[in-house]
Structure formats: C-alpha cells, structure tokens
C-alpha cells in the first residue's frame, strides 16, 4: 500500500491552536498544498491579521509579517510594489477585511494590485469572543447582538465579494466553503486560480471562504459544518462571483 495523503511540506509540524472543527486549520492546510503544488514557497510572503489566525506564521512555512488590524491590503500593496517578484497574499477575517479594512481592500482591488486576498468569513468575531461581524446574518445571536441582529439597528450582512466584483481592478473573485469534502476541493481549486491570477499579472484576486466557528456559534463541529449549508449559503451563495481572467486585462 502506498501513502495517498500526507501533510504538505510548507505546513509546519506545529499543533494547531485552533478550536476543534475550525475552518482555519483546513484552509491553512489547503493553501499549503497549493503553495507546494505550484512551487512558490520560496517566493511567498503572507500577511496574517490580528485575530484567531494571528499565529498563522507558526503554521505557514513562508515569509510572513504581522499587520495592523484591517491594513493587510495596504501592507501587501507596499510589499508587492517594493518587490514585484514575490507572491503576496493576505489572510484576513471578516472584521479585518470587511469592517476596519474596507477602505484598504476596495482600493487595493481598484488599483488592480497583483495580490491575493484570502477572506475567511465565519460571520462572527472569533478571537475577541464572538461579537457581531459585518457578515453576521440577520437574527443571528452574537455577544453584541444578544437579541439577534436587527437590520434597523445593525444593518445587513455585507457581501464583500459582490461589492468587489463591481471594481474593475478585481479580476477574479470566488466564494467557497470548507464544510464538506466537495467544498474543500472547490476551495483548493479557487485558491489555485487566485494565485495563478497573480502569477499571470492580471489583477487583484480574492477567495471568500465560508468557515465554521463552532465555539462562537455555540454548536458542535458537525452542527457548525451543517449550519454553513443550512443558513450561511442562503445569504452568501457559493460560486464564481467574477472571473474576467480569461479575457486577459479586459474589464
């Protein structure tokens, strides 16, 4: 018998500090598989956010630097402009990319910065204990929406991928999830494509990944993985939101 599944090379041998069933662990692993398969571990520079994944550099065996909350897209812009030979990616949560970092994200996309944003959408602020995120669903209970999210007071879940699709400089945007074998495989394909977009010098690419947060959703891992299908995808449909890469630099 031969081994058909092993840890990717660019994933460090550290034990994940993430909760049981957390999507970060899956996504880190899948990204490292892509980095290995596409062979750019020695060119990659990653920017993790403040958040549960602040320690991403303990897992990704690539050059990494911490960023101020929300500023990942600006930091990545600075790196890529200073050293275009690098493959630069940000790894950001829903608060980082869609609340405090909205300006930086929109404008990096608008300039068509050749960076890849991996956007982890778990509909809640994980690290800080489960507060409302811009992507929290209506009626969803969080520690700052104890009565359920009310559109009149707290607004609606924000669809960053759809918003970014309107921006010319963003050339490839896809929304996936990591709550089933099929979805994990699709996520890996999307991440590949996003990095290929950068390598092909076509523009800004983003993959929004619906990710389970059992702890702050107050569910078991199995329930959390199911909740993504049952509820999240109703608000955040999966699929390619925008892909103009086939047409080269055209809008």
């Amino acid at each position: 018998m031969k081994k058909v599944y092993a840890r990717p090379k660019s994933l460090k041998r550290a034990r994940f500090h993430y909760c049981p069933g957390c999507g970060h662990s899956i996504i880190h692993r899948v990204m490292c598989e892509v980095i290995d398969e596409m062979g750019f571990q020695d060119k990659a520079i990653g920017i993790p956010p403040p958040g549960c994944s602040v320690f991403a550099y303990d897992y990704f065996d690539v050059d990494m630097a911490e960023s101020a909350h929300g500023r990942g897209a600006a930091v990545a812009t600075g790196i890529k402009r200073a050293y275009p030979g690098a493959i630069v990616f940000t790894y950001q949560g829903d608060g980082d990319l869609a609340a405090i970092g909205t300006g930086e994200t929109l404008h990096a996309a608008n300039r068509g910065e050749r960076i890849t944003a991996i956007f982890i959408n778990n509909a809640v602020y994980g690290m800080t204990g489960g507060q409302m995120a811009p992507t929290t669903l209506l009626d969803q209970q969080t520690t700052t929406t104890p009565y359920g999210r009310d559109a009149r007071i707290e607004g609606y879940p924000i669809k960053m991928s759809e918003i970014l699709a309107l921006i010319k400089g963003a050339v490839y945007i896809e929304r996936t999830a990591v709550n089933s074998p099929a979805n994990i495989r699709k996520t890996k394909k999307a991440i590949r494509k996003a990095f290929q977009t950068q390598i092909d010098d076509l523009g800004f690419s983003l993959v929004e990944i619906l990710s389970p947060c059992p702890t702050n959703w107050k569910m078991s891992p199995v329930e959390a993985w199911e909740w993504i299908d049952k509820e999240m995808t109703k608000e955040f449909p999966l699929g390619v939101i925008k892909d103009v890469t086939g047409k080269g630099n055209a809008d």
Binding site: I45, D63, M64, S67, R71, G78, I79, A82, H107, R111
Partner: protein, 350 residues
C-alpha cells in the same frame, strides 16, 4: 526650490524607492513631486493612497520588503499614521515620515505651526517607543536632513520623523544637493523576499508571553540609549558671551535669528541654542550651558511643548521663560526682539 519639492528631490537622491502619500495642505507639492519624478524611475513606486492610514501601512510593507520608503503628511494626517508608526518601531523597520506641520488641534489651519512637537518626540502612537526626530530650519537643511534621515533609519532600524512646517515647505530658497542616488538600490538584509535558500522569516512583535515582549522593549531601549549617545545634534548662535539664550527649533529659530541680530545691535547679549535632533534632545549640552547662562527664553509656535524638554534638561539650573504663538500665527522677529528685550531689562541683563 520650494521646501516640499526639495524634500522630494533629496529623497530620490537618497535612494528612496517607494513613496506613498495622500494630499493635504501644506505639503502637496511633495506628493506631486514624487508623482512626477519617482513614479517613472526603474524599480520605484508612487501611490497616492486612499488615506494617510493606508499610506503608512504601505510604507510598512515596502520596508518589510527591504527598500527605502517614505511617506509625508501634515498634522492631522500624521495623527492617522500613529498606529502604523508604532508597528514600524515595534518591528524595527526603517522608514522616513515627513510632517509639514500646520495649526491644530482638530482640522486647525493650513498654515505653519510647531504644535506637533509632543506628537513627534513622545513616540506619538501607543507603546513604549521613540522615533528619531529631525527639525530643519532652512530648505538646504531640509534637503540635508532627509538624506540623513534615511541613513539613520537604516542604521538603527527605526522610523525617523522629519518635522518641518507649512512655511518651510512653501519657502523657496537656493539648495544644493550634495549626493546622487546610487546606481543599484540595495535591499536591506533581514527583509521579506521569499524564503529562498534560508528558513522562512517572521516579522512581528505580538506574543502571548509578556516576558518575550519585555525583552523586545528592553532591546529597543538599549538601542535608544545608543542613539542618544551618538546622534544628538544642535547648533548655537552667538552664545559664547550670551546672558539670555533663546531656545528654538525649526522656523522659530529662523525668526529668532532676526530678533537676536536686533538685540545685539541694541547691545543686548542674546544668543540661541537650536536643537536639530528633537529626539534625542540635546539635554546634556543644554545643562552644560546652564553652568554659565542663567536665563533661557523658549520660543516656539505652540503653547509650550519643547518648553517641557528644556525644563527637564535644565533640572532647575537657571530660569526658563516662554514665548509662544499657537494656531498657525507666525510671529515676527521684532515681536520676539521686544520680548527678549523686555526680559533682559527685567532681569537686569543690560
């Protein structure tokens, strides 16, 4: 050349590869100069960012990648950059930040002021850190100090603030650039360039172990002690026989010169001590001076900021007086002369 443009030319000649900025009066000539002259240079990058916050974070990114990077703004925009400066200082990343200060607080005014002294010299952002602060008082000195700023930033792995003001930026004076940009722009070591042939590199300070962070802080502290020992810079004007010494920086020092010339013509023995590094502040040298001189007049365009550093430095030796005009009002030399005069008569220094 106007001061703002001189900064741009000086930075390019110092090997600045990346400039990220945002329009704000009174420094727009600098941003525009970089757009015109830096953006097309090989390997260089100019971005008019979406905000001052984005700009400082882009500088952080460029510095991570090992190149000389600069941003500029004026007072309120510099407030926005404080978090980013804290991160630069924490991660020991070189960068040059130019503040052409204007009246504050709040939206303030668009004319020159010196009310960002505290902001510049006390770190400015959160955490226990410092930045080197250079205060030029002529367009020539602006050009020279920009070059020095990049060198200091690289040598000590620290962000360096060049504290000018709106007037200095707008003034047109002859300037000579004493250096050229190098042919090959070097890349700093310990940069993030992709982990080729070496272990992957992590640049961060966040830690869950307080003792780790303590060690980082002490290591920064030791570096600051070294900078204090080696980089203090100041200038004196007619202090050898002075009974009253005006302490002033930047534009205020220019104005004070005029006042001192008038005073001397009147037989009053007034001189000037001009700090050029506001951090590290020339405390020892000032204290030395107080062995002989008993009267100091701190003159600045604010409500009294460098005043505190002078008081701290003198440790009670000698008397310290203050004259300031906040809010962007530019005092005249004759105004300062009158104040100095009155002081001399009051203290019997005639």
């Amino acid at each position: 050349m106007d001061g703002n443009s001189a900064i741009g030319e000086a930075a390019i000649r110092a090997g600045c590869q990346c400039y990220f900025g945002y329009p704000i009066t009174p420094q727009n000539e600098l941003t525009e100069y970089m757009a015109a002259h830096l953006s097309r240079r090989k390997g260089c990058s100019f971005i008019q960012a979406e905000s001052e916050i984005s700009a400082i974070n882009m500088v952080y990114g460029a510095s991570l990648a090992g190149v000389r990077a600069m941003t500029s703004s004026s007072s309120p925009g510099i407030s926005l950059k404080q978090e980013g400066i804290s991160y630069l200082a924490a991660c020991e990343l070189p960068a040059v930040i130019v503040n052409m200060s204007r009246g504050g607080p709040g939206l303030g005014s668009i004319v020159a002021s010196q009310s960002d002294y505290f902001q510049a010299t006390r770190g400015g952002g959160h955490g226990d850190y410092r930045t080197i602060v250079l205060a030029p008082s002529s367009v020539q000195e602006l050009a020279d100090l920009i070059h020095r700023a990049f060198d200091l930033a690289d040598r000590y792995l620290i962000p360096v603030v060049v504290l000018g003001d709106g007037m200095l930026g707008q003034m047109k004076e002859p300037v000579e650039f004493k250096y050229e940009a190098p042919e090959e722009l070097p890349v700093r070591s310990r940069a993030l360039r992709g982990a080729k042939g070496r272990p992957s590199r992590i640049i961060k300070t966040f830690t869950s172990k307080p003792s780790e962070l303590e060690e980082i802080n002490w290591s920064l502290y030791r570096r600051y002690q070294l900078i204090k020992k080696k980089e203090v810079t100041y200038e004196t004007f007619l202090i050898e026989d002075a009974d009253l010494v005006i302490v002033a920086f930047g534009m205020a020092a220019r104005i004070a010169r005029g006042a001192i010339k008038n005073a001397r013509a009147d037989g009053l023995k007034v001189g000037m001590f001009r700090p050029i590094t506001l951090w590290p502040f020339p405390s020892e040298e000032l204290r030395e001076l107080a062995n002989r001189v008993k009267n100091f007049l701190v003159f600045e365009m604010n409500m009294g900021q460098m005043l505190e550093d002078v008081q701290l430095a003198l440790e009670g030796k000698g008397e310290v007086f203050f004259y300031g005009r906040p809010g962007g009002v530019i005092p005249t030399p004759s105004e300062v002369f009158r104040v100095a005069s009155r002081l001399c008569y009051q203290k019997g220094l005639k």
